[in-house]
């Protein structure tokens, strides 16, 4: 493994974008990073709030009408190579806000599957996923993706 891949694996900056879910996933991601019980920093993943610094974009929530364009613009700001982590059922399939119960007709307010808007690399299902799940996805998936190219 070259120096480039090692460097990319050893320092990963993650940016959290909250695109209009119920707050649950958002708090759990912050919890995974912030709470000393989980502490994602020990796995070399650091939280940042600046897209220019980020490698990984963590997206939570069903993408609402007003957050669609900001999300795309933030994605463009991140320099390559980058990865996208969709956390929570909302970002993966819209959860209850997008016809999951069967009785809801089409909901025009959410653009739910994140894949329609930006390419997604890793999906963490759950409503909301536990911090353990988020950490496992980040620790197993992201270094592989970062070291790949």
């Amino acid at each position: 493994m070259g120096l480039k891949a090692t460097a990319r694996k050893n320092a990963i900056h993650a940016l959290l974008v909250y695109s209009g879910g119920c707050n649950g996933c958002d708090i759990e991601v912050v919890n995974a990073v912030f709470s000393p019980r989980y502490d994602i920093e020990q796995y070399r993943i650091l939280l940042t709030w600046n897209p220019r610094e980020a490698d990984v974009l963590i997206v939570t929530g069903a993408i609402t009408w007003a957050m669609k364009e900001p999300l795309q613009r933030i994605y463009e700001l991140i320099p390559e190579p980058k990865a996208v982590l969709a956390v929570g059922s909302c970002a993966i399939n819209g959860c209850v806000f997008r016809n999951l119960v069967g009785d809801i007709k089409h909901n025009p307010e959410v653009f739910a599957p994140l894949e329609k808007i930006i390419p997604v690399d890793i999906k963490v299902p759950g409503c909301p996923p536990r911090p353990e799940d988020i950490i496992m996805a980040a620790v197993k998936g992201v270094p592989k993706l970062m070291a790949a190219p």
């Binding site: 460097a7 050893n10 502490d39 020990q42 600046n50 220019r52």
Partner: protein
Amino acid sequence: MDLLAGVISVVVCLIGAGLAIAMGAVIPGIERKVQARIQQRIGPPILTPGFWSWLKFAYKWPIKPWATIPRFYESIIALGVVIVIFALLITLPPFWGVLGVASILGIAGLLKLEELIYVLAGSVSQSLLSVPFLRHDLAKGGTKLGFRREYFEQQAAFRALKMAAICSIPLYIALAVPFAVAKSPFIADVISIQNPAFFLGGILPLPSKPIFLTVPGFIATIVYFAGYVMLLNEKPFNIVKPKVDLIEGVFLEYAAKYRTYMYMLIHIFTFVLSSIFVTLFLGIPLDPTKPALLALHLALTLPLPVLKAVLAAFSPVLTFRQLYPASMGFTALAAFSLVLALIL
């Protein structure tokens, strides 16, 4: 003979610059680890925040920043790294013979230049994250329309100018105390009154009477530490880049290799200021020709960043409401120690 001495001094300077870069790559990791242990967690490995982050950003693909003068914005940060390394080099023995450079004027001038980097970088950068992010703002019915809309970086540059004007004064006065004790503006004289053995040669010339152990020196050390945190814009004096309103201050738009330079600027500056402290207050200069003294010097540069990390873990961001009195208090303390140094 002159040629040989010239070659030796160039090699010494190169080694000094290399040491600064190497220590700058390690120190942020140590700081982060100390902070994490205070917060009851494990924290990242030592090399992750420094060394590996530098390398990773260097390997990122280039991307154009959002700035009014992108090339200027990118080059100013490389200039900053050069300035910071040069501030270290002029405290190295080869520079002592050059008239007027290895003096308080040289150090203070270069530090002041470094502060201006913030202002220059901030005034041309225009991050997407602040003004142009959302179009709802100028909708019909908005509260106040038609005012100048400020980017984060411009506000940060504005604050950096205030900080450079007010909050760096304690550091400069504290810096003058060793020179006041030596009654000379030159670094060589400051070393000679503390550590006469250094000029006699030997493997490990230890200082006989460091300024740190005198009363004015000790007061000046406290002020120097406060000024150190102020100059590095660390908590609690990080009003230039508080996460809560300006995210990262003036350095918001640096990406890829320019972010490496930005990290180098901040991390190496942490080491350089600490090294200047050890040279001036403890009388142990950074001299690559004496390995034992060099090791002692590098070990003694660590307490200041570690103390800074401890302070950062236990303090909130202070606004200008608290900063002005704090700065005035430290200035008064520094002036008191300066007077003491001149009297005693």
